[in-house]
Symmetry: C2
Subunit: 237 residues, 2 copies
C-alpha cells in the first residue's frame, strides 16, 4: 500500500517522490544510462520479457536490472542466470517502487561497479496496473505490458497506466486464438486513451514481435544515451 502524505515529516510524498526521481535521472544522465520502468499487472510477462531481452542484448549492451517485488527474490534469481547485475528490492507492503527505493538500487550499482560503463537499466516494478504509474522512479521511458488474457477493455478501465506509457507491449498473443479477444481492439482502446503510445504485440513463447521490441530498445538506448560531455552541454544550453 502507499501513502501520499507523511504526517511526521509534513510533506507531500508524491512531490518528494518526483524530486527523488529527477535526482535519480540526473545520475542516469551523468553516467550515460537509459532507464526503462517496466510495469503491468501481476503475471503479464514482465520477467520473461526481461529474460528474452537480456538473452538478446546483454552481449552488445551493458545492462543492469533493478527488480522490485513485494517479497521473495524469485524473479531476481531468474534474471541473475543471464550474468548481469540484478539488484533486488523488496517493497514489503508497498504496492509500487518509489524513487527512494530505486535510489538505493542506484547507489548499490555505483558502489559495486563503474556505473559509467552501463548503457541500460531495466527496472521491473511491482505487479500492479494502477499505482506504479503514479510514482516515477527516475526512468526515461515507461513501458506497460498488458496480456491478451486480461481482456480488451483494460485500457479504458485503468486509464492512468495507459496514459502514462510511452510503449505498450500486448503480450501472450499466442493465447489469443483460445480467447474471444482481438489484439487490434486492445490496441484501439489503448490509442483512445493515448494516441501517441508505441504499441508492439509480442509472444515470449513463439518469439513473435520480440525482434521489433529489441530494435525499439536499441533505438531508445541510441537516442537517449549521452556522454557526460553532452549532458553538460545540454545543461549549459
Amino acid at each position: 500500500m502507499h501513502q501520499t502524505f507523511d504526517a511526521a515529516l509534513g510533506i507531500n510524498l508524491l512531490h518528494a517522490n518526483q524530486a527523488g526521481a529527477d535526482h535519480n535521472r540526473e545520475h542516469f544522465d551523468e553516467w550515460g544510462i537509459t532507464c526503462l520502468n517496466i510495469m503491468s499487472s501481476p503475471g503479464a510477462g514482465k520477467t520473461v520479457l526481461l529474460e528474452r531481452t537480456l538473452a538478446a542484448l546483454s552481449d552488445a549492451l551493458k545492462i543492469a536490472v533493478i527488480e522490485g517485488d513485494m517479497t521473495t527474490e524469485l524473479d531476481a534469481e531468474r534474471l541473475r542466470c543471464y550474468g548481469v547485475p540484478v539488484i533486488a528490492i523488496n517493497t514489503g507492503r508497498s504496492c509500487h517502487l518509489d524513487s527512494k527505493m530505486v535510489a538505493g538500487g542506484i547507489h548499490q550499482l555505483a558502489q559495486d561497479y563503474n556505473p559509467s560503463e552501463f548503457d541500460l537499466v531495466l527496472v521491473e516494478n511491482v505487479g500492479n496496473l494502477v499505482c506504479p504509474a503514479e510514482f516515477e522512479v527516475g526512468e526515461h521511458i515507461k513501458v506497460a505490458l498488458l496480456s491478451v488474457t486480461e481482456g480488451e477493455d483494460k485500457p479504458l478501465k485503468y486509464p492512468v497506466m495507459f496514459r502514462e506509457a510511452d510503449c505498450l507491449l500486448i503480450t501472450k498473443i499466442d493465447l489469443a486464438p483460445y480467447l474471444d479477444i482481438e489484439v487490434s481492439r486492445i490496441a484501439a482502446n489503448a490509442r483512445q486513451i493515448n494516441p501517441d503510445v508505441n504499441i508492439i504485440a509480442i509472444s515470449a513463447k513463439t518469439g513473435e514481435g520480440l525482434a521489433i521490441w529489441l530494435d525499439w530498445v536499441r533505438g531508445q538506448v541510441a537516442n537517449l544515451t549521452r556522454s557526460p560531455a553532452s549532458v553538460s552541454l545540454a545543461k549549459l544550453g
Copy 2:
C-alpha cells in the same frame, strides 16, 4: 492511488476505514444480508464470475451488486442484463474500494429497495492484487481470484491478498493446457501462505468447477444470513 493518513483531518485512514467497514457490516447483519468482497488482478475473471453467479442464483436468492471501477460503467452494464440492482461506484484515481464508498452504495440500495428482502450483496472490487486486501468494506467473506495465466508463483509474491482470502478461485483453468502451469502448484503455493483457504478451480468458459462455487456461495448465505431477531439475540448474548 490511496492514502493512509489524512493530514487535514489528522486521522489514520486505515483505522477510519475499518470503523466504516464494521458499520457497513452491522447494516448487512441487520438486514440478513451476506456480503462477499471479490478481488483480483485486472482481467482474472471477476465480472464473468458474477455473470455466471447471477444467471444461476438470482431466481433462488435476492442479490444486489456493488460494482467498483476506477472509471467507466462497462462492467455494471454487463451485470444489469441479469435483472438485479447494480450500483456502480467509480473510484477515480483510487486503486481500491473503501468502506465509505461502499457505504454510499448501501445507502442507495436502502433508498431504492427494501434491503431486508436481499440475501446476498456481491462487491466487485477494483482490479488490483495488492491494495484492496488491506481495505475492508464491510464484507463477511473475502474471495480472491487468480487466473492460471498469471503464473504459479503469485501467492508467494503477493502474500497479503492470499493471506486475507477466505476463498481462492483459480480461474481460466481451460487455458492451463496451453501454458506451462499446474493448477496444483498454484494451490500448493496458496496453502503455503494460507493453509485454511478454501480453493476452487474453475473455468467460466467450460463451466468446470462452477457448480462447486455456486454450492459454496449458497452455503455461505445459509450460514451467515440472520433474521433481524437473531441479530438482536446475538447482540444481547
